[in-house]
């Protein structure tokens, strides 16, 4: 035990040390699969963030494309070139580069959708758990109803409705617009899980005496929810959020694959798979296979992280 106040830097170092020394860090280090998953996920983030620099080609700039390079197989196959590591598609776009840009879109959509549903679900969950009454019943019934519908169906419906509404207006329904619609559609389909988990955690926390102590001195409800209850309910949200990120990426890919997602001019991984599978039977398997592998790997890595986080944060399994 150190007496006296810690200096500022000392406190940061202390926090870092405690973090690295925590049970979470220990369980992380002990688990090579999780470490691999984390590295893979980080590589994706890195690749997506710096796609502009890393990607050997700029696949969506028509001026750099030449049809002469179209439909080249991966480099290690007869007829392939090392310039195009994973081959090219029918317009001569480098598959590796499209995967980097595609991952970027998939991650952006996935993250934004998860953040959207977390904000919505946690907000509704905390308030309904805290206030109770008819407000709680309404919110929870709505969540129940929505949970009976498959989330992909909800997303499809929302997407369709949004397009129908905006089709008549002069808002441009271009790729950027499609992304917003997708984020909204995927996000709205996932809020009920957060709302349920956070509501029940809120019910538990609300009954604890530290909340009573805050109420006795007259701390306003919103502040109690924000400062006391919310931080104590975030553990499960983090876990669901991570697993949900994988789900959101898949949902986005599915929607794009079905053609209601992101248009081929700025393809996400899902769009790449859809566009590519048309060439599957004519022999250019690489156009669809590599984006599909990239998607599987990303989802798998994120999912493994989420599963580990759930177990590591669950005191009963420690």
């Amino acid at each position: 035990m150190t007496a006296g106040p810690l200096s500022g830097g000392g406190r940061v170092m202390g926090a870092l040390y405690r973090g690295a020394d925590s049970d979470l860090a220990y369980s992380f280090r002990r688990n090579p699969v999780v470490v691999t998953a984390a590295i893979v996920t980080l590589l994706y983030f890195f690749g997506a963030a710096f796609a502009d620099w890393i990607a050997p080609h700029t696949p969506f700039d028509p001026s750099t494309l030449s049809l002469g390079d179209a439909e080249k197989p991966p480099a290690w196959i007869e007829g392939g070139e090392w310039r195009y590591l994973l081959g090219t598609d029918n317009q001569g776009r480098d598959i590796f580069s499209t995967i980097l840009y595609g991952s970027r879109l998939s991650l952006i959509v996935g993250f934004s959708a998860v953040i959207f549903s977390v904000v919505l679900g946690v907000g509704l969950g905390v308030t309904s758990g805290y206030f109770g009454g008819w407000y709680e019943s309404t919110v929870m019934r709505a969540a129940d109803v929505q949970l009976t519908l498959p989330s992909i169906l909800v997303a499809l419906m929302v997407d369709g409705v949004a397009r129908a509404i905006f089709a008549g207006t002069d808002i441009k329904t271009d790729a950027t617009f499609a992304i917003y619609v997708l984020i909204f559609a995927i996000g709205i389909s996932a809020w009920p899980q957060y709302a349920r988990v956070v509501r029940s955690a809120t019910l538990v926390e609300k009954s604890k005496d530290y909340v009573a102590a805050a109420r006795v001195i007259g701390i306003p409800s919103w502040r109690i929810m924000l400062r006391h209850v919310l931080p104590n309910t975030m553990g499960p949200v983090l876990v669901i959020g991570t697993i949900d990120l994988a789900l959101a990426i898949i949902t986005e890919a599915t929607l794009s694959f079905l053609g209601v997602g992101i248009p081929p001019t700025q393809p996400s991984l899902g769009t790449l798979i859809r566009v590519g599978q048309e060439f599957l039977f004519s022999g250019q398997w690489w156009i669809t296979l590599f984006p599909a592998l990239a998607l599987v790997l990303l989802v798998l890595a994120v999912n493994l992280l989420g599963d580990w986080l759930r177990d590591a944060l669950n005191p009963k399994l420690r």
């Binding site: 005496d209 530290y210 102590a213 006795v216 007259g218 701390i219």
Partner: protein, 342 residues
């Protein structure tokens, strides 16, 4: 009647409606009502400790929570220093500042994600007691030292402390707004006896030093004996006996008080053969008719089964008892002996 009591409670009651499943409600079943507190009245003067004792579920905590404003009373009145604070809107900041609460469970009464100094600073900030952050920090350090911890402990999180230390932190938080009245809901029943002694001593020292008034809740008669000036014995939502501590232990009146005194395991009683007292604690949802204690009472008669006894001043002044037998003077004199004040 010279001085206004610090806390005055009149006929206070709260009835909880237990939820009934929708299906049963549709079939016309009325929700069950649990009368957790059913009409208690008392007053505490400045600097005095009133204890409430009784078995689990009799409504002790609910009384404290009603006074703290955590539940809205079904009926009755709470006044602090003459100000009626029954309605939430009458609880001004100035009033809230004068009463705080200490809870039973040292695990649950401190937010696990807050540093101790933030926990103790919360009331200081809420009531604007300190001018600036530096002054707040100084006050927090002072409070920590007052309860026997070090200023540096403020940097830690609650889980880094033992149960007794956490209860000290709770006490420091309760003192932060410089209150007059502290509602103590079983502050030591989760602690070991050796730690309990430390906390009880601390609470008494603070009372002497700061002139605090305690409403002290406990199920342990020995602790209550040590802490209180006056004692209220509670049974199923009502007070059955209120008396000065010495009088209660020397001459318990109500049959339930006598039962409690007989059955408390006590250090001085090595090798005693206890009489197994018959009966179970009845359910507060469906309390017995008349005197709620009659199914367990050896002196119950017909009147007890039908008519509820009211809390009345007994012949020996300063003692109030709710019992027909006491009123009719058909109760044998209080058992002297082990329970008597030595």
């Amino acid at each position: 009647m010279a001085e206004m009591p610090l806390l005055q409670v009149e006929n206070l009651a709260v009835h909880f409606c237990l939820p009934v499943p929708v299906a049963e409600r549709a079939m016309g079943r009325k929700p069950k009502v649990l009368k957790a507190v059913d009409g208690v009245s008392f007053a505490i003067g400045k600097g005095v400790t009133l204890s409430v004792v009784g078995e689990s579920g009799c409504g002790k905590s609910t009384v404290a929570r009603l006074i703290a404003g955590l539940y809205r009373p079904t009926r009755g009145r709470v006044a602090i220093d003459g100000h009626d604070v029954t309605a939430a809107k009458d609880r001004t900041r100035a009033i809230r500042r004068r009463l705080t609460m200490i809870f039973q469970d040292p695990q649950a009464s401190l937010n696990p994600r807050w540093r101790v100094r933030d926990i103790i600073a919360e009331p200081i900030k809420a009531f604007g007691i300190a001018g600036d952050a530096r002054e707040t920090g100084r006050q927090v350090d002072g409070l920590l030292e007052q309860v026997g911890l070090a200023g540096a402990d403020g940097e830690k999180f609650p889980h880094e402390f033992s149960g007794g230390q956490r209860q000290r932190i709770s006490i420091a938080r309760a003192l932060a707004s410089k209150p007059d009245l502290i509602l103590c809901d079983e502050p030591t029943s989760a602690l070991d006896v050796s730690v309990q002694a430390q906390i009880l001593n601390l609470m008494r020292d603070l009372q002497d030093e700061l002139g605090l008034t305690y409403l002290f809740i406990s199920h342990d008669l020995a602790v209550v004996n040590h802490m209180s000036d006056r004692i209220a014995v509670m049974y199923l939502g009502r007070f059955v006996e209120v008396a000065d501590a010495a009088a209660l232990f020397a001459a318990p009146q109500h049959p339930y008080t006598r039962l409690l005194l007989e059955t408390i395991p006590d250090l001085g009683m090595t090798g005693r053969d206890r009489e197994a007292v018959a009966g179970e604690v009845p359910s507060p949802i469906d309390p017995p008719s008349g005197c709620a204690f009659h199914p367990r009472c050896p002196y119950a008669d017909k009147r007890c089964r039908t008519e509820r006894p009211e809390l009345r001043e007994a012949h020996s002044g300063g003692v109030a008892v709710a019992c027909h037998a006491v009123e009719e003077e058909r109760l044998p004199p209080a058992p002297a002996g082990g329970a008597a004040d030595g």
